[in-house]
């Protein structure tokens, strides 16, 4: 690794007619992808377009039902990630795989299959320094990974692959955790390496700006199929989004009716909050959601949207600012949730909204168990009434369960979310807080759940919707905001903007 003369050749990679199904879902349908040696190739597509499935097939996490992988033109048999590594194919995941308590040097050495029993740190250090010298960027070898910034961690993930002599790099949205400046630095350096013929890079992304700035070529997937490819420099942003979105929606969108205008309902005034380490995650967010309106907040995850939802649901402390509803101060307590008729559909319902081991009927009763008719004045519950009400709502909201007494953990994701909808939307709703309500759900559930949210709006609720899915935002929202690095950076009526404009702001191009 010390001599530059011995730099391994960057390989080319192709997938040929690759298909993969999960049950009835056809996740990949006859996808062919070609990444030339020494190129920086972007793989684009909406959520669920099949990008992850494709790279997981390449990496050997999944076995494709049909099709092959060609490495430098020869068929490569990859049955496990280990095979992929042996062939020189490595992947950087969306979430870090480094061990936080180990130092950078320790992470690198232990990742080697031939790590020695007793490590001679002096020798290893020399070799690591020499390796780092040959690299376009470096990371402090002695730093504990948990102390590194996100950008440094991402660099270290990439360095790890290079250290292991993997020259075909797959990056899964590598910049989603980085600041724009960090992202530009890392991608720029990778691009330089590719152009020197040292590596070949396949990057999953949905940031057009990065693709246009750093990539040579691209492939777009849509609903598991190939939707286009070409030169990243030649293609226009609007063509790219056209390929990604397609003829928008086979599914009938939820019907929007003219809701009775009632003026502002939910108002956020200069809200700020910090994470456990004291870093600002929400800064000065001011936003009004009117009654009978859905305001959709778009953005890449990790830009403060989850924290904003936590502020509204009482899971996180407000550092500064105020929430008002109909002009009155709102503190997120149970009494106020009831008083102002505030309801919520948190993201990842199994983690945020239900108790997995309690029954479906009990989970449906979370909002109502302490009020008549479920409980009397003395606080005594009536399980029969809870069960009856659960059964009624299960039928009304079409929750598929063997019985109201089944633990909710036995239900499918879509049905868990329907049960939460049944709990939160069965009464009169004035304010509804929604976060990624359809993430990971099947097609039928998605349209069902979006319709219910729209109906709540049509009945006059003020709905705040946070979603990483631009489709969802455009289908539901009356006004669209973009959140980036904890701030609202863009706000426009849905009728006066389009996916390209919003996408630009999501990708961090302000103004």
């Amino acid at each position: 690794m010390t001599g530059n003369h011995k730099t391994p050749q960057a390989p080319s990679l192709e997938t040929v007619h690759m298909s993969k199904s999960f049950g009835s879902l056809r996740a990949l349908d006859d996808v062919s992808l070609r990444v030339a040696s020494g190129s920086f190739h972007a793989l684009l597509g909406e959520n669920g377009a099949g990008k992850s499935t494709l790279v997981k097939c390449i990496m050997g996490f999944y076995q494709a039902d049909a099709g092959q992988v060609l490495l430098d033109g020869c068929e490569a048999l990859v049955h496990s990630p280990r095979d992929a590594h042996a062939l020189g194919i490595g992947m950087v995941y969306q979430h870090f795989t480094l061990v936080p308590c180990l130092t950078a040097a320790e992470n690198l050495v232990i990742s080697r299959a031939d790590a020695p029993m007793v490590i001679d740190w002096k020798k290893e250090r020399q070799q690591l320094e020499a390796f780092m010298d040959a690299m376009p960027f470096r990371v402090r070898l002695d730093a504990q990974v948990s102390e590194l910034s996100a950008g440094e961690k991402q660099k270290l993930e990439i360095l790890k692959l290079l250290y292991l002599d993997q020259r075909f790099l797959i990056l899964d949205e590598p910049t989603s955790v980085l600041t724009p400046a960090e992202a530009d630095e890392v991608l720029g350096l990778l691009g330089d390496m590719a152009h020197r013929g040292e590596v070949t890079v396949l990057m999953i992304s949905h940031k057009f700006r990065e693709v246009k700035t750093f990539c040579d070529s691209f492939t777009v997937l849509r609903r598991g199929r190939f939707a286009g490819s070409g030169s990243a420099q030649a293609v226009s942003v609007s063509d790219l989004s056209q390929m990604m979105i397609g003829d928008a929606g086979l599914r009938p969108p939820a019907t929007r009716t003219q809701a009775p205008p009632k003026g502002p309902a939910l108002h956020l005034d200069k809200l700020s909050a910090s994470d456990a380490e004291g870093r600002r995650v929400v800064s000065d967010v001011t936003l009004t959601v009117n009654a009978g309106e859905i305001v959709g907040i778009a953005g890449v995850s990790g830009n403060g949207q989850s924290a904003l939802i936590e502020l509204l649901s009482g899971q996180r402390k407000i550092d500064a600012g105020q929430i008002t509803i109909n002009g009155e101060d709102f503190q997120p307590t149970r009494r106020n949730f009831d008083r102002f008729k505030v309801f919520g559909l948190p993201e990842e319902p199994l983690r945020n909204a239900v108790v997995p081991r309690m029954t479906v009927a009990e989970n449906i009763a979370f909002r109502s168990f302490d009020k008549p008719p479920a409980a009397n004045r003395l606080g005594l519950l009536s399980p029969a009434r809870i069960r009856q009400r659960g059964a009624d709502l299960i039928a009304r909201f079409n929750v598929h369960t063997s019985s109201p007494d089944a633990p909710i953990e036995t239900l499918s994701g879509g049905n868990v979310q329907r049960a939460v909808l049944a709990r939160e939307l069965s009464g009169e709703v004035e304010v509804l807080i929604v976060a990624n309500p359809c993430f990971g759900l099947d097609f039928a559930s998605v349209s069902d759940i979006r319709r219910q949210i729209m109906e709540a709006r049509n009945r006059g609720a003020a709905v705040l919707l946070v979603s990483e899915d631009l489709d969802e935002i455009f289908e539901l929202a009356d006004r669209i905001a973009v959140m980036s690095e904890g701030r609202i950076t863009y706000l426009a009526p849905a009728a006066e903007t389009d996916a390209i404009e919003v996408g630009k702001h999501v990708a961090g191009q302000h103004g």
């Binding site: 899971q315 307590t333 519950l381």
Partner: protein, 368 residues
């Protein structure tokens, strides 16, 4: 139950609620049987006769009216300490503080009795005051662990155990010092309560009223956990803290309140140890009822009502200990070994929930 394989599936298809009930009976019972078998093997290796052993447990624990009353007598504190573990467990806390609350509670009731006895107070006021003092002190003591957990992030298992050791040391310190009765020569103790200041037996039996208190509390706490808004909220918080927060539930208060209830139960057990058994407070209060209660609660699956029969079972083991010791020439720790084996087997059996083949068919059938 393996019959279900020889019949078409539809013949045996319990709904989810029945399946859960069957599981919560079959699995602990199976674990009990398995531990009896393991213990029998242990005895065989030592050259002892397991059949004789279990026969003696029967004779000494349940066989006669006398022995059964002895069993119930020993079950009384176990019911209370079992409840002391079960209630906070429902909110997701593993508390080992019952022993400390029992010791301090019992001690407090013995101490508060002194001025009342000397002041000639009527007993019908004095005893309830003693009981309340025991519950208040026990509740406050375990409440500390709950508070530390929720507001300071201190692991409640270790802190409650440390509080137990501290409680025993405090009691020893005070019994040896300020509150030592000059008459107690062998074993430092507080002033003995006269016969009229003692809690008597339930009429017609030789079992003290602590058993009745345990039964009443078991029912009350079952109602509290299963049939009140408090219990429902506690179960939400115990099952998923984030969901409880998102529902605006006061999770901190729920946690501390559960701990206070637990400590009060254990403190009450201490009161009965003082007022019904020893007549004074001394080192005998630390008789490990608090620790056996943990096992009782585990076997009862943290269900307050189920605590009662399980406590009686362990009461029977304790009651027959002497007989086994004498007749089979075995050390008194025999019962500790049996308890340890039951405990370990029981925890291993936890892995079977939701995986019993004859029940699983219905549960996975829910998926769509």
């Amino acid at each position: 139950m393996s019959l279900s394989t020889s019949f078409p599936r539809s013949r045996f298809r319990p709904d989810a609620r029945t399946a859960a009930i069957i599981e919560s009976i079959v699995i602990p019972l199976g674990a009990l049987i398995a531990s009896a078998l393991i213990f029998s093997l242990f005895l065989l290796v030592l050259g002892k006769d397991p059949i004789r052993f279990f026969g003696l447990v029967w004779t000494g624990g349940i066989g006669s009216a006398f022995s059964f009353q002895n069993t119930l007598q020993r079950a009384a504190p176990l019911i209370l300490t079992g409840l002391a573990f079960a209630v906070p467990a429902r909110i997701g806390m593993t508390l080992l503080g019952a022993e400390g609350a029992l010791v301090l509670g019992g001690f407090s009731s013995a101490v508060i009795a002194i001025p009342m006895v000397l002041g000639g107070w009527p007993v019908w006021i004095g005893l309830p005051v003693m009981a309340l003092a025991a519950m208040a002190v026990g509740g406050a003591w375990v409440g500390i662990a709950g508070w530390l957990r929720h507001y300071r992030g201190v692991n409640e298992t270790i802190s409650s155990l440390l509080l137990t050791y501290i409680a025993v040391a405090i009691m020893n310190f005070l019994v040896e010092g300020v509150f030592r009765d000059p008459g107690s020569t062998n074993k430092a103790s507080t002033m003995p309560l006269g016969a009229d200041w003692r809690v008597g037996d339930i009429p017609g039996t030789s079992v003290h009223w602590g058993l009745a208190a345990g039964l009443v509390l078991a029912v009350l706490l079952w109602v509290l956990m299963e049939r009140t808004t408090f219990g429902f909220a506690a179960r939400i918080a115990g099952g998923n803290l984030r969901a409880a927060q998102a529902q605006g539930l006061p999770v901190g208060k729920l946690a501390v309140a559960s701990c206070v209830i637990a400590g009060a139960c254990a403190g009450l057990a201490g009161f009965f140890e003082v007022a019904a058994v020893h007549g004074q407070a001394n080192a005998s209060l630390a008789a490990k009822y608090g620790f056996t209660g943990i096992l009782v609660a585990f076997l009862a699956r943290q269900n307050p009502m189920a605590v009662v029969p399980v406590a009686i079972l362990f009461g029977a083991l304790a009651a027959s200990g002497g007989l086994v010791q004498r007749r089979m020439d075995m050390p008194d720790a025999t019962m500790l070994v049996l308890q340890g084996i039951i405990f370990v087997t029981l925890l291993v059996s936890e892995t079977l929930y939701g995986r019993l083949p004859f029940l699983q068919a219905t549960q996975s059938g829910d998926r769509t």
